[in-house]
C-alpha cells in the first residue's frame, strides 16, 4: 500500500474562480457583499430598502439567487439599478462559477458595489466563497434565537449579523439579548445591527455600515486614487 499526498481543497476549483473574481473586484474597486439567511428572513426586503435609499447615480448592481422563479429580480428591478436573477434549478447555494457566468457581460468598471443575495439556506452557502469582501448573515425574530448555535459555520464566517423583523417582537417569544449572546458565542467579533424593513427602524445603522465598509474597501484598493479624482 502506498499513500499519495494530494493536499488539495475539495473546492479548489471554486476557490480558484472566487480568487479571480476577488481580483477583478479589487482592480475595478467594486465592493461586493454576499447576503445569506434562511428562506424568508428578509434578504430581498433588505435589498429593496437599501436600493430605495441609494441616490439614482449610485453605481450598484444586484445578483439574486433562487432555486426557481424570477420573482426577486422583478421585485428589485423597479429601483432602476441593474439586477439579474440566478436560477440554480435545484442547487441549494450559489457558487463562484454561477457568479462569474452571470457577471459576464456587465462591465465591472461601471460599478462601485455588487450585492449578491444567496439562495435561502444557512448551511450550504457557508462552504462557497464567491469572491465577496464580506458575508452578511440575516436572522429574523420569527426564527429561534439559537440559530447561531445550530448553524455556527455561517455565523463564524459572516462579519455582520442583521437581525430583522423587529416590528414583530411584541408577537413572538424571541429574546434579542439571547440572540446577540449566541451570535457572539460562536463569533466573538461579529457586528450586529437590528432592523425592521417594515418600519424602517435601524436601517440607518445598516446604511452607515454599508457606506463605511464600502469606503474602507476603496481605501485599501489600488484604484482608489483614480476613482477619487474622476
Amino acid at each position: 500500500m502506498t499513500r499519495l499526498l494530494v493536499e488539495q481543497k475539495v473546492l479548489s476549483e471554486n476557490q480558484r474562480i472566487a480568487a479571480e473574481l476577488r481580483e477583478q473586484f479589487r482592480q475595478n474597486s467594486v465592493f461586493c457583499l454576499n447576503l445569506v439567511s434562511s428562506p424568508g428572513s428578509g434578504k430581498t426586503s433588505l435589498l429593496e430598502r437599501t436600493l430605495e435609499a441609494f441616490p439614482d447615480h449610485t453605481r450598484v448592481a444586484v445578483l439574486t439567487g433562487d432555486v426557481q422563479t424570477e420573482n426577486d429580480a422583478r421585485r428589485l428591478s423597479r429601483f432602476g439599478f441593474p439586477v439579474r436573477q440566478i436560477t440554480t434549478g435545484g442547487t441549494c447555494h450559489l457558487d463562484a462559477r454561477m457568479v462569474e457566468k452571470h457577471l459576464a457581460d456587465w462591465s465591472l468598471a461601471d460599478l462601485d458595489m455588487l450585492l449578491i443575495e444567496n439562495v435561502g439556506n444557512l448551511v450550504c452557502p457557508s462552504s462557497y466563497d464567491l469572491g465577496e469582501h464580506a458575508k452578511v448573515v440575516l436572522l429574523s425574530v420569527t426564527e429561534g434565537e439559537d440559530k447561531p448555535l445550530k448553524y455556527p459555520s455561517i455565523f463564524v464566517k459572516s462579519e455582520l449579523m442583521v437581525l430583522n423583523k423587529l416590528d414583530l417582537l411584541p408577537y413572538v417569544p424571541f429574546s434579542v439579548e439571547r440572540a446577540r449572546e449566541n451570535a457572539r458565542r460562536v463569533h466573538p467579533g461579529i457586528e450586529i445591527i437590528e432592523i425592521s424593513c417594515i418600519t424602517g427602524e435601524g436601517l440607518d445603522h445598516w446604511l452607515d455600515w454599508l457606506r463605511s465598509n464600502w469606503r474602507r474597501n476603496f481605501a485599501t484598493s489600488s484604484a482608489y486614487a483614480h476613482k477619487e479624482t474622476e
Binding site: 500500500m1 499526498l5 494530494v6 493536499e7 442547487t91 455556527p152
Partner: protein
C-alpha cells in the same frame, strides 16, 4: 444538503489523479472535514456511496478525518479545542483568541493497492 456536490468534487480530483497515475489502482481517498466547513460527514459518506455505486470507483473507500474547531490565543499563543463554543483562552483567560482550525474541507491523500 450539498454533500453530493462535495462528493462529486472529490471524485473529480480522484479522476484527475488517476489520469496522472495510469494503471495504479486507488483503494482509498482521505479527506478532512472541519466542524465549521458546513459539510456533514455522514451525509458526505452517503453521497459518496451513492455516486460510486456501480461506477469504476465502486471499491474506492472514503476516509473522513473530522477536525474540531480550534482557537489560538493571541496573548499567550496557546492553541485549544473549542468545545461548546467556548472561545476564551483556558490558560490565560483572555477573550482575544482567533480561529485556528475547523474550516477544513481538504483532500489529504489517496491510497493505492496492487493492481
Amino acid at each position: 444538503m450539498h454533500e453530493i456536490s462535495i462528493a462529486a468534487a472529490i471524485l473529480d480530483r480522484v479522476a484527475a489523479e488517476a489520469a496522472r497515475y495510469a494503471g495504479v489502482r486507488f483503494t482509498k481517498v482521505g479527506v478532512r472535514v472541519g466542524e465549521l466547513s458546513g459539510v456533514d460527514p455522514e451525509a458526505l459518506s452517503f453521497g459518496f456511496e451513492a455516486l460510486t455505486r456501480e461506477s469504476p470507483w465502486e471499491r474506492l473507500a472514503l476516509e473522513i478525518e473530522y477536525c474540531p474547531r480550534m482557537q489560538r490565543c493571541r496573548q499567550c499563543q496557546h492553541t485549544f479545542t473549542s468545545a461548546n463554543y467556548e472561545t476564551d483562552c483556558p490558560k490565560c483567560g483572555t477573550a482575544d483568541t482567533i480561529l485556528a482550525a475547523g474550516e477544513e474541507l481538504d483532500i489529504a491523500f489517496i491510497e493505492t493497492g496492487d493492481a
